[in-house]
Chain length 428, copies 2
Amino acid sequence: MGITAGEFWTNRWHLMNHCGEYMKIIVLGGDGYCGWATSLYLSAKGHAITIVDNYLRRQWDHELGAQTLTPIQPMSDRLRCWSRITGKTIDLSVGDITDYDFLIGVIKAVQPDAIIHFAEQRSAPYSMIDRKHAVFTQVNNVVGTLNVLFAMREAQPDCHLIKLGTMGEYGTPNIDIEEGYIKIEHNGRSDVLPFPKQAGSFYHLSKVHDSHNMMFTCRIWGLRATDLNQGVVYGTVTDETALDEALVNRYDYDDVFGTVLNRFCVQAAIGEPLTVYGKGGQTRGFLDIRDTVRCVELACLNPPERGECRVFNQFTEQFSVLDLAHKVQIAGKELGLKTVVEHIPDPRVEAEAHYYHAKHSKLVDLGLQPHFLSDSLLDSLMNIALQYRDRFDSNIIMPQVNWRETQNKRHRYPNVHVAAGAGASSSY
Amino acid sequence: MGITAGEFWTNRWHLMNHCGEYMKIIVLGGDGYCGWATSLYLSAKGHAITIVDNYLRRQWDHELGAQTLTPIQPMSDRLRCWSRITGKTIDLSVGDITDYDFLIGVIKAVQPDAIIHFAEQRSAPYSMIDRKHAVFTQVNNVVGTLNVLFAMREAQPDCHLIKLGTMGEYGTPNIDIEEGYIKIEHNGRSDVLPFPKQAGSFYHLSKVHDSHNMMFTCRIWGLRATDLNQGVVYGTVTDETALDEALVNRYDYDDVFGTVLNRFCVQAAIGEPLTVYGKGGQTRGFLDIRDTVRCVELACLNPPERGECRVFNQFTEQFSVLDLAHKVQIAGKELGLKTVVEHIPDPRVEAEAHYYHAKHSKLVDLGLQPHFLSDSLLDSLMNIALQYRDRFDSNIIMPQVNWRETQNKRHRYPNVHVAAGAGASSSY
């Protein structure tokens, strides 16, 4: 009595650890921004981690002519460094989860207790470049997730799937957003049904498709899954990535893969205007990457029952884009930076002012203690940007993907032709 | 005053016809069960029809070792016969709509007023055979529809897309099913949102994915679309297919592509038990194929505004599976047939008894006068089955695809090995 479910499981897990027990966890997409931070965090906690990645995220950097501001190291160097510093080993399987034979081979070899699935194309603008990128995003993400579901059913049916969804699946309805499901009263009857989805890009739609496929397979096959509808992540440093420069995490600020707050901090540090799309009234849920890794851990430690497809809204605070610009402007002033906010035409088709109120209590109930957005975090992000300012490329800031067009040509370098979908393996 | 919107448009259309005007219509999947009947019906009405098909439906017959009870003719013979009898020409483009260059080439050449999209893998059991068939179904259907949406935006943005969805997208919620959208009151606010989807197979899920993609592109690109959430179709004869045996339509009764009422009529005619899956309380919307073609025509004649993604629930009556078995049993008795109803284990994972009440008034408002299920229709179906009884194959009746399994081996012929997904072109 008197302890929350989260405390119970955390205690149980500490007990497991003291007994030398831990979870076997596969992190699909462990080379990416959230995947890398999560892999290190869970490894530090004593779990046995296997990263699966095909390095496609690095390939997209080359396709787009954009590089993370921080100099991330090749995976082999990253893992060697982690092992040297901590004495812990992270296993690695290099391959593509749309290749079923590869995927089920890894799962059979590892026999994981949990699979954390970050291995998707996760940029809305990337999915809106043109038809090939839209088709690639949906095929890659849907087929990858279908393969994970089939492989679990065939090789590891008791395993817990923790799948990264997005708050963007819900869009911006004029009612409160619940966590995955909503009780609807209608004509004198009622039912609890999946919350209606109104996604805003082919990428966000791919996650909607995944969610429906996951709910179905939990129902027919008795799989267990947690769909983490994550908000926009900011920050780059976690306790683990800070241990050595070879462990540094991505810090994307370009128009395609950069997330808004990280981009604003880079712009402020470099002395470029903060580019607000349209009015800036677009309101979304946000979270610190240190909360991302903790939320995923909480999901792992608190598996749902067999047959349940549980949904958590994974963010800690909601802000409008203009709110964020003003916060960065103020924090920049403290550092002696003069920052201008510039409204530019919104390249996306979205409401620029709207009602937004999304629930996000389930992870807190399990024990999440949020890192709320603070001036010190903004300081830290701007200082990192200053540290790596020599790597800054002003060509990759302005949006070049317009939602209204079906063919967005991206001319960053003269005399360079990038084939449509050069980073995409789809043949359609 | 005093006329319905349907009457107005029907009048307008008669006027168009009297002036020698008509619509240019592309029928994607015009070689299939609904597509063929629709193509002939609209051609008879004076529209200029172009059929697009890759004959994959015929290939699946070979893969499954199943043939339609009626001897359908090759497309070239079908079209020659139609031309000879009616003096009307239907154009034909043979190709796959997942091939974008092919698809947009046809659209540019035809410049259609409407595109009717039947060109999807439409069998739930086929999608549940194994992983390859699930992946094929979702990739084929989602990519085909994405291609249609992109091609419309790029080449024919004013064109009206009429897309076949399915009532199966909704599943069996415990509240009334509305036509595509539902007004939700929640915590003192309200919004009209897409009706929540709980599809029951990878096939039905593919249509859910399509619906979300269509709503998005209508919103961002101002396309106009009608999503016809069709019930289970029965019957095989329309006025047009009855004109000559070379125009005969498919009559599928096998466990994979056969629809339930057609299968029951064949079973009754042949003297086999009517196989009811489980309790038979599964309730669905049904319609006569003669109403399918009229509904599609009504959608064509009444296009939505640019930017609207309209949804019609396309069925005329709802029945439980057991209701239908009893109706066939009674009608069979009149023909001197002794028919037994046999309950067999349900190969699907679905509620065998549940609340079901789905709205379907929008097409009636436009002028649909339903052909309700009658004894004479059942007579006709059973008589056709008797006419072609020599083609009946008892090996293809019993269900061989179990929703609970991920690998359903289908052993109909000794010493024959069918590669998984032999009819599927997916490389995943």
